[in-house]
Symmetry: C2
Subunit: 399 residues, 2 copies
Amino acid sequence: MASEETGADGERAATAVSGAPGRPVVGVVGAGQLARMMTPPAIELDLDLRLLAARADDSAAQVIPATMVGDERGLLDLQRFSDGLDVLTFDHEHVPTAHLHSLELAGITVRPGPHALPYATDKAVMRRGLHGAGVPVPRFAVIETPQQLPGAVEFVGGWPCVLKTARGGYDGKGVWLASSAAEASEVFQAGVPVVVEERVAFVRELAAVVARSPSGQAVAYPVVESVQRDGICVEVIAPAPGLADETAVAAQRLALDVATTVDVVGVLAVELFELADGSVLVNELAMRPHNTGHWTIDGATTSQFENHLRAVLDLPLGTPQALAPVAVMVNMLGGDLPDLHRALRHVLARDPGVRVHLYGKQVRPGRKIGHVTVIGDDLDDLRARARHAADYITGVIDE
Amino acid sequence: MASEETGADGERAATAVSGAPGRPVVGVVGAGQLARMMTPPAIELDLDLRLLAARADDSAAQVIPATMVGDERGLLDLQRFSDGLDVLTFDHEHVPTAHLHSLELAGITVRPGPHALPYATDKAVMRRGLHGAGVPVPRFAVIETPQQLPGAVEFVGGWPCVLKTARGGYDGKGVWLASSAAEASEVFQAGVPVVVEERVAFVRELAAVVARSPSGQAVAYPVVESVQRDGICVEVIAPAPGLADETAVAAQRLALDVATTVDVVGVLAVELFELADGSVLVNELAMRPHNTGHWTIDGATTSQFENHLRAVLDLPLGTPQALAPVAVMVNMLGGDLPDLHRALRHVLARDPGVRVHLYGKQVRPGRKIGHVTVIGDDLDDLRARARHAADYITGVIDE
């Protein structure tokens, strides 16, 4: 047992795992806010949560004692990190699939598995796989060269259309809405296949978050509306206001079908376009707790983070039931204010019911640095309160 | 910045405080389950939570990176630990008051302060102070020697009566219900003053938990019923079933009055006797998050742990509003089963709505090792579910 006494001068004590009998060991690759938000349920259920972090001051590394600093994309560090784990899971999708196959061959349990992850990391694999399985997606074509572009554009219905690099994009990066071949030239520079899609005339964006365990148990959270700005989720309303029951059920069924088809273990978020006729198309997939599920921390009996941990450990899942008729989550994106805590005081004083989540990240413009959630009955009131709190903490407003 | 890469073989990485601007620093003396349950809200609000633990594998030390292992009752370690803190607070009440006065003289902010803490650590101080302030308490006398016993017993109404050591008792220890001087002899062996009290014919035990900030803001949680067995709280029902509105309001007012009278900062739990006429008497005080408030983690918008941290930092307090009409919390006391996780799987499968909290403590008979909470509408249903979950995990039942 390692035990190291230190002062409170910035150094930390290296403490030992207490070794409670039967305590499951979960390793998370990546130390962003998603791993950080897995920490409270891990503490509550006494799970031994370990972290492979790129940097010692990453968001989750600040709060998880069992942190190994290493190369999240390097096989050697992944192997060292995996020693003693009951299951390996993820904060992000940047681990090379080949490494995960190597870990599985060495007997490590990887969830979600490398057979499923390409559906979240490669838009070409995802579009082809879902289309082949009969899941509704936008009309699309996958191409490799600019020479194939005219044919693909014609196939999806002509300009304007959407072009995406198959791999490497996130939060709006790697996606172009283009009206001509000239506007689309940049998409080929990444050197990966390009997905050309029809521009969908959607009425809004929805998301269906589900969790699925290896034994096949699954739960579906209420379908939410996701408000995007510049390709980044800025606001989530749970449940999606005015959503027709049949659309809600269809979206949940679709997400559960995708989870089964792709054999996801853990949380799967399915981002959807809602069309004018009430039908939905799949936009994107994520195989980890997702921004559209952050409201569940304060707004559901079991959060998406707890259900992700339960799922990857094959523990029975918790009810996704909402705690109030409406929840509104607003993201906080970095602005001009470097000191969030000063503003926090004002926000907590103004609204004793607002739930504030800060990720411990250095403020940089546009970076996700936290979120706020408010739950209750009155959507307009909740939205105004959540927006005010987020805007005040990030310095967008000062009163 | 300290950064130390280690394997996942039981050793931990020593990670550095990231130094987000303005992040408040809270030091907690003691590393039991109360400090452990302060961790989730500290993570959410990005508070720098540091710990002075007796042992590296204490309940909270397992989950808080910034842990210093040292002597919680030694002034030198307390001084070292206090360096750089914005406020010093407590998991337990075992720190010598003289040390806390020394720390205050050295400029450390201690909350609750050493002027208030004796009301929670010395039953003679508490009884005299509350009685002097007009707060209703059982009829009592404080004595020093067995020779004073007959007069004291006569003053409180005769045998049987209750005898308590003024200091050092907890969870039923240090308290005797005696019918004769012979039965009461042990109480004098501790060498501290003895409080002799009337045996109160109460109908049940209540608790009023409040939080109070240095600027005087205070919030009162719903008044709960606390079910005791052998002097240990085994079950809490929030709100207390069938409690008259006027009794509930009176109990909350009384707790707020006590908080002001004693000048508590942080959470104050007031344990009460409810009498047949609906009036209440103060039984005990605790100046920290309390077992009768654990239900607030899952059952209230702001938990007692979050409000304790907010109060000691003089951050505005969060609403204590309940999330459902009823919450039932049942403690788990150590039994024959050493492996709680095996039983956890069964309990989570049987009841997807139960909230289980394990404290990471080695199982010893009678030791508080966790609790479960269920919230909803139907008291009988909630109580049956919470009791079943707790009994199964501790091995009292096996189906």
